[in-house]
């Protein structure tokens, strides 16, 4: 009995300590917390917790006879063992004792049309190792949400006083620039602005449906009845017009919100294409003990993708633990009571019949 009490108190202390450490880790931020929870003292703590769980199984027959309690505690034990096996220290130990060459985690930068097999560290400079196969990026794509129906093209005008005015960019719309400053009128909008020179005359045209160079033509009418025409290009926002220091920006549609990222890749092993997948967020590629995730991309030109790579060592043990823990809590706290309730209602019915 004394030992049982001792184990329970130790368990309570271990829970209390982990709670305090979790709160402390939350204040430290993820990178520092990761270091703390993967440090040697915490390694000792995790091992101690695993031993404590095993001691619980040995000492408390209740844990073995109640399926719910057994699954909960066995689940926690599996999660602990799996996560320790998959940690960086776990990988180092596997390398030392089992001659495993697996790299715990890293990144891959792959250009379109090229193959890559090197895994690099977070700064993308230091090489951590290479995979026994290579990954070729066929294409990197971005998918945007369609523009909102209520988003209309707008012209933003920053006046001399720093005031920001906005105007719906539609031919004929106009706005006052302030008392004694004149007004601004929209003349024409362009989806794809082009300028050509014919017979020494500049001709402005709107070419094609693709919004490659959206622009708006405006006329600024001054109070002294002078006026001048200017073009405002969406791709060169905030350009200042020197004549009266107006800063004009044109937005032809609402902000484009990214819906998803896709990296179309093929795995090449011994010169042969052995697998292909379109990696996207929530849909990683799994091959030869590694998971490949869409991590980042070339935001300027979309020419390369950055994949994060993680080893799957210990992962399925952790997943096994998750299943046991989930089933255990559901059994212990929900289903057990439902079945007891059903049995009791059966007994009551029998008594009533008799």
């Amino acid at each position: 009995m004394k030992l049982n009490r001792c184990i329970m108190w130790t368990a309570l202390l271990a829970i209390c300590l982990l709670t305090i450490l979790s709160v402390f880790g939350a204040f430290c931020g993820a990178p520092k917390a990761k270091l703390i929870f993967n440090s040697i003292p915490l390694g000792v703590y995790w091992s101690g917790l695993a031993v404590l769980l095993i001691a619980g199984f040995v000492q408390f027959s209740r844990l073995l006879h109640k399926p719910g309690l057994f699954m909960v505690h066995a689940g926690c034990l599996l999660i602990l063992v799996g996560s320790m096996w998959g940690s960086e220290t776990g990988h180092q130990l596997q390398k030392r004792f089992l001659d495993s060459q697996k790299i715990p985690s890293g990144y891959m930068v792959i250009y379109e049309g090229e193959s890559e097999k090197h895994i690099v560290a977070e700064g993308l400079k230091q090489t951590l190792g290479e995979l026994p196969f290579s990954i070729k990026l066929n294409d990197f794509r971005l998918e945007h949400y369609p523009a909102d129906e209520d988003s209309v093209p707008r012209l933003y005008i920053k006046t001399h006083q720093g005031q920001v005015l906005q105007l719906i960019a539609k031919a004929g719309e106009e706005i006052s620039l302030g008392q004694g400053k004149g007004k601004l009128r929209i003349v024409r909008t362009f989806r794809n602005f082009r300028i050509t020179v014919e017979d020494e005359e500049k001709i402005v045209t709107d070419q094609g449906q693709a919004a490659e160079n959206p622009a708006v033509q405006v006329v600024i009418e001054l109070p002294d009845s002078n006026s001048y025409t200017r073009y405002v290009f969406e791709n060169f926002a905030g350009f200042t017009h020197g004549e009266n220091l107006l800063q004009l920006s044109y937005v032809s549609q609402g902000p484009q919100i990214i819906r998803d990222y896709f990296s179309d890749v093929v795995i090449i092993e011994n010169g042969k294409e052995v697998a292909a997948k379109s990696i996207e967020v929530n849909h990683p590629l799994h091959y030869a003990g590694y998971h490949f995730y869409q991590h980042s991309y070339d935001s300027q030109a979309g020419k390369y993708t950055i994949l994060s790579v993680t080893s799957d060592s210990g992962l399925y043990t952790v997943y096994g633990g998750y299943w046991l823990l989930s089933l255990g809590v559901l059994w212990q706290f929900w289903f057990r009571h439902i079945t007891i309730g059903l049995e009791m209602s059966k007994v009551k019915t029998k008594v009533l019949i008799q």
């Binding site: 329970m8 709160v23 939350a26 204040f27 993820a30 917390a33 985690s105 998803d260 992962l315």
Partner: protein, 264 residues
């Protein structure tokens, strides 16, 4: 604090008013009227939830406005379930709890619908958030029971109902599997979306801390039963305090930057 002059805002204010009126009439002894108002409030809350779903074009679990809107709807079914299945009362306080839960949606958080970022476009989005929100509402009800126990007077006099200490325990036992599933589903989703089932993100750590407090509660109660009822109640209240930090402080404060910040 801003007032929402929209149809959705109006519906939220009607629900808050219905819940508050239900509370007042019940306190004044008009129990039937109170129950009717409580049910009416729930129906309008469910309509508001459905309207928001239609308007945002995704299940309204994305930001804190939607989270509080959803939780405000969950209180009524929980009250009914607790009374009928767990024999735990406290509906009068639940009415007030419903109004409190809807207050941030009505007056604090912005209601503009947002598009789902790539990471949230997963089948795990709905179960992960739904089980967490349900568990939070359940644990909030458990906390009310714990306060009743600490005040040493039951909130109700019905003989069919259990005392607040047992009520707290039963509700926690009911909510704990959901809290566990929320943590596990989140971890599984983290593996699919970000590459790791545990990223030591501040919100993950606060979630773990809240789970551990309830683990502590269950172990402590197993060891001592009702012998230290006040400590049991204090642990239940501590668990809810950590949940509040997880839900609000970890999302809103700049002290805790992390992968979960889109929730704000």
């Amino acid at each position: 604090m801003t007032i929402k002059y929209t149809f959705q805002g109006l519906l939220i204010y009607v629900v808050i008013a219905a819940y508050l009126l239900a509370f007042l009439t019940t306190v004044l002894g008009r129990k039937k009227t109170g129950n009717g108002l409580y049910l009416a409030g729930f129906i309008i809350a469910a309509i508001t939830f459905g309207y928001r779903w239609y308007d945002a074009r995704h299940v309204p679990f994305q930001n804190l406005f939607e989270v509080f809107l959803s939780m405000g709807m969950m209180v009524y079914p929980l009250s009914i379930f607790c009374r009928r299945s767990l024999r735990v009362g406290g509906e009068t306080m639940d009415m007030l709890l419903g109004a409190i839960l809807l207050f941030p949606a009505g007056f604090i958080f912005k209601a503009e619908p947002q598009k789902l970022p790539p990471a949230l476009q997963s089948w795990l989005f709905i179960p992960h958030v739904a089980v967490y929100l349900m568990s939070y509402v359940i644990m909030a009800k458990a906390t009310v029971q714990a306060f009743c126990q600490l005040k040493a007077k039951p909130a109700y006099t019905d003989e069919n109902l259990v005392d607040p200490e047992i009520g707290t325990y039963r509700i926690i036992c009911f909510g704990f599997p959901l809290l566990t599933l929320g943590l596990i589903l989140g971890s599984w989703w983290g593996k699919l979306a970000w590459g790791d089932y545990w990223g030591w993100d501040p919100k993950e750590l606060w979630s773990l801390a809240s789970w551990l407090v309830y683990i502590g509660y269950l172990h402590f109660r197993y060891m001592f039963g009702k012998k230290h009822a006040r400590i049991n109640s204090c642990l239940a209240i501590l668990g809810m305090s950590v949940i509040l930090i997880t839900l609000l402080w970890a999302n809103l404060s700049k002290i805790f930057p992390g992968l979960h910040n889109y929730a704000s």
